[in-house]
Symmetry: C2
Subunit: 356 residues, 2 copies
Amino acid sequence: MRGVVDDALPTDARFLRACRRLPVDATPIWLMRQAGRYMTEYQELRRRYSFEQLLTQPELACEVTLQPVRALGVDAAIVFSDILPILRAMGMSLRYDDSAGPQLEPLGDREPAALSFSELEERLGYTLQTLRLVKRELTPPGVPLIGFAGAPFTLACYALEGRPSSACTLARGLLLAHPERGRRLLAALADTVGRHLVLQARTGADALQLFDTWAGTLAAADYRELALPAARRAIALAREAGVPVIYFSTQTGGMLELLAETGADVIGVDWRTDLAAARRRLGGSVAVQGNLDPAALLASWETLAERARAVLRAAGRGPGFIFNLGHGVLPGTDPDNVRRLVELVHEESPLSGLED
Amino acid sequence: MRGVVDDALPTDARFLRACRRLPVDATPIWLMRQAGRYMTEYQELRRRYSFEQLLTQPELACEVTLQPVRALGVDAAIVFSDILPILRAMGMSLRYDDSAGPQLEPLGDREPAALSFSELEERLGYTLQTLRLVKRELTPPGVPLIGFAGAPFTLACYALEGRPSSACTLARGLLLAHPERGRRLLAALADTVGRHLVLQARTGADALQLFDTWAGTLAAADYRELALPAARRAIALAREAGVPVIYFSTQTGGMLELLAETGADVIGVDWRTDLAAARRRLGGSVAVQGNLDPAALLASWETLAERARAVLRAAGRGPGFIFNLGHGVLPGTDPDNVRRLVELVHEESPLSGLED
């Protein structure tokens, strides 16, 4: 039996074993946005500090990272950070507004250059410092730590729109209208993101996740032409650091086969996608992470438990499955529901992905 | 040769023939949101009248409906209207704000009752009057007129959230947490929407479209349980009026097979979905409408033409295809690009869906 609590080496942790499609003693679970607004402990910090302060002060970001690990018993920590500061590091103006959310000045005609390792170390050093602190303070010490970044296409949507509409229509229009400029922007973002992921792994991240939240706003042909090569480039760089890479996107149920072409070790699928079909369509060479509807956590425990069991059944008993939501935890979620969900997945995981 | 211009009877028009999967002389084309902000003629009216006035004053709504028919040569008119006033007719407060968009007071604990035919005639009489005026003034007279409504699930998202987030998370959470109340709300909406569609057909609409814009925020299992039965109920009612019904949804590429179960004559598919696969997966008993990426209209004519030809090729030569966008025309679209697109589809349609 290998388990998070028994082992001090993260590489033996069930989350990392599942990333590598090795047998596990129980299905690993962590949740996107497991740190944040739905937790009382987070709300208490937010009353005293701005979101910007929580992000950029490593002691605070470390504390927020650890809150859900202590409270929920999840199988991985994910560094408290955000995908947008990398755009500020590339020269764009970014401000977090408490009511209106992130305010980003659209890129306009500027063509930002890719950042070097040393520029990234200097400008996003606070996140690297957070990773160091978390690694030192993680209890139990065997819990793996995930670093992350936004994927090039998703960052391009933010950069071009300032604040994307739900379908990134303006950004997609600009990329179609100015394909050469778009390719240069995506390449600069891919190199910057890839290097930032490498730095996070060198500073202690045991796995890396690339968030391509807006990929599913593209037609499959455009995904193949725009988002896929850029994600592949970032992931190829990141994988040189030697830790598993997870690629998460939403609304991409119509082009799952293409997601495996990113070269990621694990594909995160959103809640709209049938997980059993996703496992089949992605083939045997990648692990799968997902995909409980975050809205199920707003329902009664009975409804939630039924939906969670459906995810375990759909995942099947093959290796390489990590339980997660199909998107981030929603504000208003009852933390007790989340804690019980983690217990259920561990206890009932004989339904899925186990050693015989 | 049967064509819109040659015939005075809309039932012989190529758009209606394609809805019924009959041979056509050229691929019919109309565009979602073909009337609106991107047209100079519309902007001129909007400088003098509010959106609310354009909606509710039949002479103005008629003029807006006719603008794209005159300017673009499309094969169908769609009545200028909106999906939200039906919620006002059911007792909810609705206000259109020029900058913030529609402002709807969330439903809270109220349980609105379905409206009768006479209540709908009284409260949404202005749209019926618009249909009468358009039928009288449509030139050429053979151009068919489309009536429409929002689908029950999509209206429930607006009713529960006031203004839905891109994933309708709050509404989906409420529907999962209170399934019985949710079913009652969806049933009341289905009956009301179905009756409103019937009234539009009786007043001159030659076809009806049901917009289920938010359906794709649901996991397939929840779509089957919540959105599908409600859409089917509305469509069953609407089809009694004897005109073809189109069902349009977005982000539903992962559950296309279920869309055909709505009972609609035509399935509208969004731009994310591969159209050739959609035709196969939907089977031979329904027509298909779609699915050029609206962002392609923001690109150069060369890029646009290439994408339009790809849609025609993907649609193939089988009967029952209507060219449309995969969502509405975007603000900022060059009307000249739209006009050339309509010409291209008519001229190059030997690529798709034709009589031999």
